[in-house]
């Protein structure tokens, strides 16, 4: 396991657009990493986390990317480092 990222998507507030600064690909399997890229989740792109879990758990997380909305789990979100978008 890698150290927890400072500014991970996992802990990002909902409804605020952010930019992906870095993704720790080693924290997930090859298949998971590829599917993330197929969704377009890559370094430099802008995303907005929108919904998180239910009363059962904090999992999963729904984010919008472009005109798509995708669901990921928080262990993947924890491997995604984000930065704020300067206005």
């Amino acid at each position: 396991m890698t150290a927890l990222l400072e500014n991970s998507l996992d802990r990002a507030p909902l409804g605020v657009a952010v930019r992906i600064a870095r993704i720790d690909w080693t924290a997930m399997s090859d298949d998971e990493g590829r599917r993330l890229r197929e969704f377009g989740l890559m370094e430099g792109c802008e995303i907005t986390p929108l919904h998180r879990g239910s009363i059962f758990s904090r999992d999963p997380l729904a984010v919008t990317i472009g005109r798509m909305k995708v669901i990921i789990r928080s262990n993947q979100a924890a491997a995604i480092e984000i930065e704020t978008i300067s206005a």
Binding site: L36, R37, G40, H51, K69, I71
Partner: protein
Amino acid sequence: MTAAIPSIALVGNPNAGKSSLFNALTGARQKIANYPGVTVERKAGHASFADGRPISLIDLPGTYSLTPASLDEAVTRDVILGKQAGETRPDALIIVLDAANLDNHLCFALELLALGLPTVVALNMLDLATRDGLTLDTERLSKELGVPVVPTVAVRKRGLTELLAAIDGAIESHQPRAAVAAPQNDASLHQRARAIARAATVDETPVRRWTQRVDNVVLHPVAGLIILVALMFVMFQAVFSWATPFADALEGAIGVVQTWVVGTFPDNFLRGLVVEGLLAGVGAVVVFLPQILILFLFILLLEASGYMTRAAFLMDGLMGKVGLSGRGFIPLLSSFACAVPGIMATRSIPDEKDRLTTILIAPLMTCSARMPVYTLIIGAFIPAQNVGGTPIGLQGLVLFGLFISGIVGALLVAFVLRRSVTKGNATGFMMEMPRYQWPRLNDIAIALWQRAWIFLRRAGTIIAATTVVLWLLLTFPQAPAGQSQVEYSAGGRIASALEVVVKPIGFNHDIALALIPAMAAREVAVSAMATANAIDAEGDEDAMAEALGDRIAGRWSIATALAFLAWFVFAPQCISTIAITKRETNGWKWPMFMVGYLFLLAYAAAGITYWTAVAFGLG
């Protein structure tokens, strides 16, 4: 080009509207089968060019790239590359793109174009893109991609003629070109896709995001779950109340035919077989067609509207706790209609252990074949009244309780399995959330018709055969005067032997007799009782006229009836499910395990129910 009928594959991302386009192009001229060796559904159909030349179309599972993450995505790759056994490589491709999601969908399109097959791009759901404030330049897109681009709105059958003409032209004029190298890594592929999307986008105005507003409620951590439970509740109430008039009409019709046969033909072996075996047995099952169709209707509507993925999102947290993922929710919800398509739908679960666990618990979802059993018993023993002064029917409530028992049982079993026999890594859950859409009447009608047909074919084959065998077993040897035919017959004696085993859990001779043929399919339990009932009542006009439900209500205790219901929450009585599990898990090990653990649970559940009910004085 060639004399052979050209075969054209529809391919694209999930949620690009491929299936609607496929339905629009082929109408009802389609056939659903399986790819040999794998249980991925193969949807093929026919259409024709404007001048009448026939073409064959095949609808491939949606995927994001040619690198598959699951079994169904592997089929798409293998068919396109001509590596799928028993399938010729398609002569041409129709790449289906969601016009409102070009950046993402163009990635796969670029990968496909690099293959060098004759190709046309269908720019689908253009109306929705316009609604979202997008204006696209089709010609520019066509120039960038180097292939014809045809705007289509599959729902309104718009652009279909143009699409077929373009594909005809593409096949005719196709020059075998060297496969163009697609950008090698994901990042450059995405860059290229985004650049093309930007070039083709004339105007993009910010839009009123009503989808977002709906999601804020539907995906709310608390409100969302309440809506989900309410929806399921309405679904099960509807199954009961809406179906009744149709079921009554079917039952009446079967009764008319029975009376007609009895009145028209002399009393002989064949008449007995038809009236007591076929009509009573198969008829008892066919009357549940309306309920099954209503259940399927709800599931299809949830799927087509885009709500199903929201339900999966809401359930993922709970399913994650027992070691499954929200992806398993869709196969499990389909299993409420029938475990066979449900188990087949597990092929979209990437993790092997996760998938196996989902397969093993799928039979615990209350499938439509249990409906005949549940409705018969509930109708006979539970009064048709409302709970207190509410509009909630007691019968529907009991049915809801049975569904919930199955779900809770399944979650507990998954929890145990994931910590024992199917131990493995925590699984992921990655899925695209489709936009909300109005379900298309046409697509729903086609799917419903296919389900109805499968059900009726089952009733006409497996169920009819089992019923006839049972009738023979119950008719011979003939009982001497004064003795019950059903008890005296060969079938009756087998049932008496089984009765010893099931007596402790409150089961009587009627039930023991029904359990054996019900191994073929659960609903046969009802036909078996109907057949036994018809033989028992032979010659007795009053008994003949008495409905099966009324008869058992007079013969069973409530405790026995409840135990019987509890048994069917768990019992793995369905040959088709066992067979599909064997095929999906490549061997006998897991289906045997499944049958074993489910029978144990069924016995325990029925026992506990019976003893508890007896303790409360219901014996």
